[in-house]
């Protein structure tokens, strides 16, 4: 057996791709499906830039095999906006300058989205620990944490 055929769901779309047995889900998303939003910052699960949601849990897609996506339900940063309308997190990240270089942003947005769906009113400490696996070297995290808090408040209708 050389390559593996995978049927999966990404951002609600049923998709198929072929991957090598040892290929990571990150590489499959980027190179097979052209979804380049998830980034490789370390390849060892230490930076979180490759974060995607898989079957409801956030994972480092660099630590998942492409083959494991068979039958899975995946969500990536590319699926956050609805048409032209940005997700509240996306819009507030721009408005509140929660990104500088932006390389960590897709991973942080995906992780924060899952957090807010699970916990609509997280404390500062809960946000910081939830995002501890998403390294950002530009911002010192301050504006990121505040933007997640603002988005949470808006999404709660507060």
């Amino acid at each position: 057996m050389k390559n593996i055929h995978v049927s999966t769901t990404v951002n609600g779309d049923e998709l198929e791709f072929v991957c090598a047995p040892g290929e990571t889900l990150l590489d499959s998303l980027r190179d097979r499906l052209g979804l380049k939003g998830a980034k490789e910052g370390c390849g060892t699960g230490d930076c979180g830039a490759c974060t995607v949601e898989m079957n409801g849990e956030i994972v480092c897609s660099c630590l998942v095999l492409g083959a494991e996506a068979e039958g899975a339900d995946l969500r990536t940063v590319e699926g956050m906006a609805t048409g032209d309308k940005l997700h509240a997190l996306q819009r507030i990240f721009i408005d509140e300058a929660a990104l500088q270089c932006g390389i960590c942003t897709p991973g942080i947005l995906v992780a924060a989205q899952t957090l807010l769906e699970r916990n609509p009113d997280p404390s500062e400490s809960e946000i910081r620990y939830w995002l501890a696996g998403n390294l950002c070297r530009c911002t010192g995290y301050d504006k990121i944490v505040r933007a997640v808090q603002s988005a949470a408040a808006e999404m709660r209708g507060a």
Binding site: A20, R30, D31, L35, K36, G37, A38, K39, E40, G41, C42, G43, T44, D46, C47, A49, T76, V77, E78, M80, A81, L86, L89, Q90, R91, F93, I94, D95, E96, A97, L99, Q100, C101, G102, I103, C104, T105, P106, L109, E124, S125, I127, R128, Y129, L131, A132, G133, N134, L135, C136, R137, C138, T139, G140, Y141, D142, K143, I144, V145, R146
Partner: protein, 746 residues
């Protein structure tokens, strides 16, 4: 240049918090970074790296790799020439070892293959015959007369005879009579410090895609300066600049680390040999081993003070290592060390030594954080000895307008005193502390630079504006550039779009470094807008049949300058643009300048920490940054620079370090054990912006990017000292060191 009149103007756009133009691309995953670009027929490039810290390369046999199916090219140093210019030769030799591998991870060969698996397999088939040599990684060991020799003959004329074989330079700054100064002191403290090397830690790996066929090259890469990349790559590959076009991708962080080349010349050489496009993306481990961390240091600082808090003299000896190639960073450290103080007698001495470590690259205020850490630690210890308030003592001795700086010149307008006063007035300074907590303070300083800059501004037919500039946007500069253009033209921000262009579309631009972009590109943008305004006023003057001088520009409109000029309805920029064809053709303005006069910047940081008395773990519980930013064009991004730099400094102070084993191999080449701060490590970082205008910029802008990394090192060390009752003289202050100090104190 002086722009005094304009610095007090009422701004309409500058100073607001608009949305950045690249924001949507970056939050939707569409923005293309270094590794995100591909072309058909592309090969994968991989680099073979030395497992040894120091080894002579006797022979490289790549025949088995070349024979592997799918391998399209193998290159070694033999595929490159030998540049005459020593600096360029060093950069090339750092990209590909010539006769010796000079550090663990030094590139020795590279392959291009049809895919990553084949490239990886090919690397294993390359046989390198190494003669392992003695190595040295510690700066003090490297300074010694009997140290293993990293490179022969690299000392410049400043190095005194009898110095060790790895010493490459010596420098000295200062003024006044030290002996007399120390004699006036009631207490003189002399302390020795050591700091480990740190890495910029940008999250985006170095990545490039190179095509070089028929003598013409195209290079896509992540860099802080595409023009510099072109210059270096063209030099290394023996090409003319016109034949190599470099396009900068979006950049995922740099902090100085992307101001040189590592993989780009290699990818071009592989492409030249294979005739195919070649993409190289570094792994995180390669980044730590073989890009450019900052210096490590060993320092002695001696300061004298009177009982009532007047500093009478200061002296510092700095020994830096910047890896296996000559490095002049110590010179900046030596100039910056005492910059915050008004001293009658001050002297700094700087030495650089070669080691078997990767070639240093710039990192935010290069050289300054460690020397200022040492000075600010001793000042704090003196305050503790005499029970003096550390903020009052800094105010008492602060450099101010007219002070002869420790590095020579006399300061003109500087904001240190204002910054210290702001810290003193802030509630943080007097807030109560909890058990096991302590508060530390430190000043910081950076020079800031200007440099070569080109900006082209084009008026579109509908009256909107396009700006082309050449400096990669790391932290929101497209927004601030658009804002300054909108301000000058008197039009809304959203009518301006700024793009960053390739090397073919503008003249040379210096790298995005030295906190220069908002200052220098902003200055050129304002001048380009003024040039376009001049053209527009001239066109309108013709329409109205009056003199050009009788037309003024206000709020996006050409207007008669006064009643004498005639009675004409103002013409808007849209109206002027719509008839540009009829009035003489397209309207544009451009400006090319070597911007000087960036204006130095000072910062003061307050840090509260809590030290666990049983484990030595340090937690930062409160942090406030005070910094003179000149005019803050986009306050959010000014704050972002202050917060981000502070956290990098906090990492440097507490946990970040290069750890080499006995064999000179890097032990922590990954984000697991090279511990940059994570979100849960930190409190909010409160920024306090002071706006003391820079007279060298039309809007009073100063650089803000670098100063903020300087104060955290001493602020945290001083805070730990007060929280735990022990003072460390080395960085990082990792828990084992703090616990050991606490236990030996008993």
């Amino acid at each position: 240049m002086n722009f005094p009149a304009k610095t007090k103007r009422d701004f309409k756009v500058v100073g607001t918090r608009v949305a950045r133009p690249d924001g949507v691309d970056k939050v939707t995953g569409r923005a293309l970074y270094g590794a995100d670009f591909s072309v058909p027929g592309m090969l994968v490039g991989r680099i073979l790296r030395s497992p040894h810290a120091h080894a002579r390369i006797r022979n490289i046999d790549a025949s088995r790799a070349e024979a592997l199916a799918g391998v399209k090219a193998v290159v070694t140093a033999a595929d490159f020439g030998v540049p005459e210019d020593a600096a360029l030769r060093d950069i090339q030799d750092n990209c590909m070892a010539r006769e010796k591998a000079l550090y663990h991870g030094h590139a020795v060969a590279a392959v291009a293959a049809k895919d990553a698996e084949t490239a990886k397999a090919a690397l294993k088939l390359i046989e390198v015959d190494y003669e392992v040599l003695p190595h040295v990684t510690d700066v003090d060991a490297a300074m010694a007369a009997d140290a293993p020799v990293v490179q022969e003959g690299r000392a410049d004329e400043t190095v005194p005879e009898g110095s060790g074989p790895n010493v490459t330079m010596y420098t000295e700054f200062g003024h006044g009579d030290l002996e007399a100064g120390f004699a006036k002191a009631d207490l003189v403290l002399e302390r020795s410090f050591k700091t480990e090397a740190t890495h910029q830690g940008y999250i985006e790996p170095h990545a490039c895609l190179a095509t070089l066929t028929g003598g013409r090259g195209e290079l896509w890469c992540t860099t802080q300066g595409q023009y510099l990349v072109r210059e270096l790559c063209a030099g290394i590959l023996g090409m003319e600049a016109s034949q190599l076009r470099v396009t900068a991708s979006e950049i995922g962080g740099g902090f100085g680390g992307k101001t040189t080349v590592f993989i780009e010349p290699v990818a071009l050489a592989l492409s030249r040999k294979s005739g195919r496009p070649v993409k190289i993306v570094m792994t995180r481990s390669e980044i730590f081993c073989a890009t450019g961390p900052t210096i490590s240091s060993s320092m002695d600082v001696k300061i004298g003070i009177t009982r009532d808090g007047r500093i009478t003299a200061g002296e510092a000896t700095l020994r830096y290592q910047g890896g296996a190639f000559p490095c002049e960073t110590v010179s900046m450290g030596a100039q910056a060390a005492f910059a915050a103080y008004d001293l009658e007698a001050v002297r700094t001495y700087g030495w650089n030594a070669l080691t078997n470590r990767p070639k240093e690259a710039a990192y935010r205020a290069p050289g300054a954080p460690v020397s200022i850490y040492a000075v600010e630690s001793v000042v704090d210890e003196l305050c503790q000895e005499f029970g003096l308030d550390p903020l009052e003592i800094r105010l008492r001795n602060a450099a101010r307008d007219g002070t002869k700086a420790s590095y020579g010149p006399t300061f003109d307008q500087i904001g240190l005193v204002a910054t210290l006063e702001a810290a003193k007035a802030h509630p943080h300074y007097t807030a109560p502390l909890g058990e096991n907590q302590g508060r530390g303070l430190s000043c910081g300083f950076w020079f800031n630079f200007g440099g070569n800059t080109c900006v082209s501004l084009n008026l579109n037919n509908d009256g909107t504006v396009g700006i082309t500039e050449g400096n990669p946007d790391i932290g929101g500069s497209r927004a601030s550039i658009s804002m300054m253009a909108a301000e000058e033209l008197g039009i809304p921000y959203d009518k301006v779009r700024t793009v960053i262009t390739d090397t073919n579309s503008l003249g040379h631009n210096d790298v995005t470094d030295g906190s220069r972009v908002t200052f220098a590109v902003g200055l050129a943008t304002i001048e380009a807008a003024r040039a376009a305004i001049k053209v527009m006023c001239a066109r309108v003057a013709k329409i109205w049949g009056i003199d050009e001088e009788a037309v003024v520009w206000e709020d996006g409109h050409a207007k008669p300058s006064g009643p004498n000029a005639g009675d004409f309805d103002p013409m808007s920029i849209e109206e002027i643009a719509a008839i540009a064809s009829e009035t003489g053709g397209p309207i544009a303005g451009h400006h090319e300048v070597n911007a000087e006069g960036a204006g130095v910047s000072f910062g003061v940081h307050l840090a509260d920490v809590e030290v666990d008395p049983e484990t030595g773990a340090t937690k930062v519980v409160r942090y406030t940054v005070f910094q003179d930013a000149g005019k803050a064009v986009h306050p959010d991004y000014v704050e972002g620079q202050m917060q981000g730099g502070s956290v990098q400094g906090i990492g440097w102070a507490l946990n970040e370090e290069y750890i080499y084993d006995e064999d000179g191999r890097l032990q922590n080449a990954g984000f697991l054990d090279y511990r940059i701060p994570v979100a849960s490590d930190l409190p909010m970082i409160e920024p306090v912006i002071l706006e003391i205008p820079n007279p060298g910029h039309p809007y009073g802008v100063r650089g803000v990017g670098e100063t903020s990394i300087v104060p955290p090192l001493a602020a945290l060390s001083n805070a730990v000292s007060r929280a735990a009752g022990i003072r460390l003289h080395e960085l990082p202050m990792s828990p084992p060191k703090i616990l050991k100090a606490m236990m030996s104190k008993g």
